[in-house]
Subunit: 286 residues, 2 copies
C-alpha cells in the first residue's frame, strides 16, 4: 500500500509524525504492528516513517521495539533551558527549596492543563509523583488555581473544556465551586490545594506575573503528613514569585536579600525538619 498523494502534503506528514509520537505516550515501547494499530496508518508508510524517525534519532529501535529517542531528550531539554521564565526562576526555586526544605515546582498553563517546567527537591523529589514535562488538569492543582485566579483567559479555557476532571474526592468538579475557590485565591494572592490532585499530597502556590495577568506559578508541595500549609510557607513563596517576575522583566532582583531574611526568620523551623537547608555545602553554593 502506498501513501495517497493528498496525504503527502507537509501538514499531513507532520500530523502523522505527531500521531506516531503520541502513540508512545503510554507504553513506551511499541512494535510496528502496535504503532499501526494505535495510529491507523498504513503499515508500509508507518514503517517508512518509523525508520526515518530512527534515522533522525527521534526514535530508537531495539530489535522489533521502537522507543522515543535521544534527539527528543535533547530538544526537550533545550526547550526548557532556553525558556526565559525558567532561566529567571531557577535561582529562586533553589533558594525556596533551601528555605523550606520542601519540593518546589515551576509550572505554566497549556490549554486546560498545567505543565511543570521545573521540579526541585533533591532526594525528596522522588516522594512527590510529578515530573518536569508532566501535566495535570489546572483546576485540581495549586499552581493551576494560582494562575486561574489571575488569568481570565485561562479560566475561560478551563471552563470551556467542559466537565472538570475528577482526580480525587476532594477535586473541584463544578464551575461554581471553581469560581468560589478562585475568589479566595485572589483574596490571599495564594492558592492552597489539599488532596485535590493526589491523595495524601498538598500544595501551596503563588502566581507569577503582574496582578492583571499571571503567566506561571511557583509552588511548594509534599505529603500532608510533613507539609504544614500555613502562612509561614506563604511568605517566602510570595517573595520567590515576585523575585522571579522581576527577574524576567530584567529589573534588579531585590527579592533575594528579603528571601535570605525570611530564611533566617524561618531558620528554627527549617533546621528542625531539614538540616540540609543550612548545611556547609549549601552556604558554599549560596
Amino acid at each position: 500500500m502506498t501513501i495517497q498523494p493528498d496525504a503527502a502534503t507537509p501538514s499531513a506528514v507532520l500530523d502523522r509524525v505527531s500521531l506516531v509520537l503520541d502513540a508512545f505516550e503510554g507504553p513506551g515501547r511499541l512494535t510496528l504492528a502496535q504503532v499501526v494499530r494505535r495510529t491507523g496508518l498504513p503499515r508500509s508508510s508507518a514503517h517508512r516513517m518509523l525508520e526515518r524517525l530512527v534515522h533522525l534519532r527521534w526514535l530508537r529501535r531495539q530489535g522489533r521495539d521502537y522507543e522515543l529517542g535521544m534527539r527528543l531528550v535533547e530538544l526537550g531539554s533545550l526547550a526548557v533551558h532556553q525558556d526565559r521564565l525558567h532561566r529567571a526562576a531557577l535561582p529562586f526555586l533553589h533558594e525556596l527549596h533551601r528555605v523550606t526544605g520542601h519540593v518546589v515546582h515551576l509550572a505554566i498553563m497549556d490549554g486546560a492543563d498545567v505543565v511543570y517546567l521545573e521540579k526541585i527537591g533533591g532526594r525528596m523529589a522522588a516522594a512527590v509523583p510529578t515530573r518536569v514535562g508532566g501535566r495535570h488538569p489546572a483546576h485540581c492543582t495549586g499552581v493551576g488555581k494560582a494562575i486561574l485566579g489571575f488569568s481570565d483567559a485561562d479560566l475561560r479555557t478551563v471552563l470551556a473544556s467542559g466537565q472538570l476532571a475528577r482526580k480525587t474526592r476532594y477535586t473541584i468538579s463544578t464551575g461554581d465551586q471553581l469560581r468560589t475557590e478562585l475568589s479566595k485565591v485572589r483574596a490571599h494572592g495564594i492558592a492552597y490545594e489539599r488532596e485535590e490532585s493526589i491523595p495524601g499530597f498538598g500544595c501551596i502556590a503563588a502566581p507569577i506575573g503582574d496582578l492583571g495577568e499571571a503567566v506561571a506559578a511557583v509552588s511548594i508541595c509534599g505529603p500532608l503528613s510533613q507539609l504544614k500549609l500555613d502562612a509561614q510557607l506563604a511568605a517566602p513563596l510570595r517573595m520567590a514569585a515576585l523575585g522571579i517576575w522581576r527577574n524576567i522583566e530584567g529589573g534588579p532582583v531585590r527579592v533575594q536579600p528579603t528571601l535570605q531574611q525570611a530564611r533566617i526568620r524561618l531558620g528554627g523551623a527549617v533546621i528542625q525538619h531539614h538540616p540540609a537547608s543550612t548545611s556547609a555545602a549549601d552556604l558554599q553554593y549560596a
Copy 2:
C-alpha cells in the same frame, strides 16, 4: 514560491522539520526570516511549517519570535522516564549523591558523543555546567572514557569521526593518547578526567554493563577544588554501576546494602563536607 512535489515526500518533510528544529539549537528564539536564513527553506514553506509546528505545540510563537514548545518538553521527559536504564539507575544515583555529596551523572553514548540522561546534585548541580539532554565529545569526559574502555564499537565510531575535538589544553587529542588512556581505564575499571572537558572541573566514572560491553556510565563530578579523585570515591561508584546493571537485568539489587555500608564507612568524610547526606530528611526518604 511553492514546495517542489519531490520535496513533499514524507522523508523530505521529516528532514525539513528536523532542519527547522535544529535551527533553534543555538539562539533559542528565531523569527521567520532567521529560520529561512538558517535552513535555506523557501519562505512560504518555512512559514507554513512553523505555523503547523506551533499548532502541534512543538514550537510556540511570541509576537514574531518562534521558540521550542511544550510538546517537546513533554516528549523529551517521556523519552527519559520511559528509558529502562534511567529507571533502573535513579535510586542508585540518588544514593551515590547522598553517599558522596557530589554531583552524579548517568550518560550513554550517541555517535561520538555522550548524552547525559540524568544529573543529581541538589544545589550543587548548578555548579557543574552540564544538563540532562546535553552532550559532550566522549573522549574528553569521564563517562565517555569509561564507556569507550569497554566498548570497541563505540571506540571505532569515535576514532572514525576523525580529529578529536579539543575542549581544553588537557583534552586527549590523538588516537594513540586515547588508546593509552583507555588501557588504564580497563586496568582500573574506572575512568578519571581532570579538566579535559571543562577547566577547573574533574570527574570519576565507572562503566555500566558486563565487562564485554559497556552500555552507559555513571560518574561523580565537581570542581577539582572540592573533589578528590581517589579510591574512596571509586568504591561506591563501582558498586552503584554494578547495582544499576543488575537492576536493568531484573536481578535482585544486592548492591544497595553494600552501598549503605560504604556510606557508613565514608560517613566521617561525608559529614565534614556534606551534612545533608545524613540529614533527617534523607533518612526519612532512605
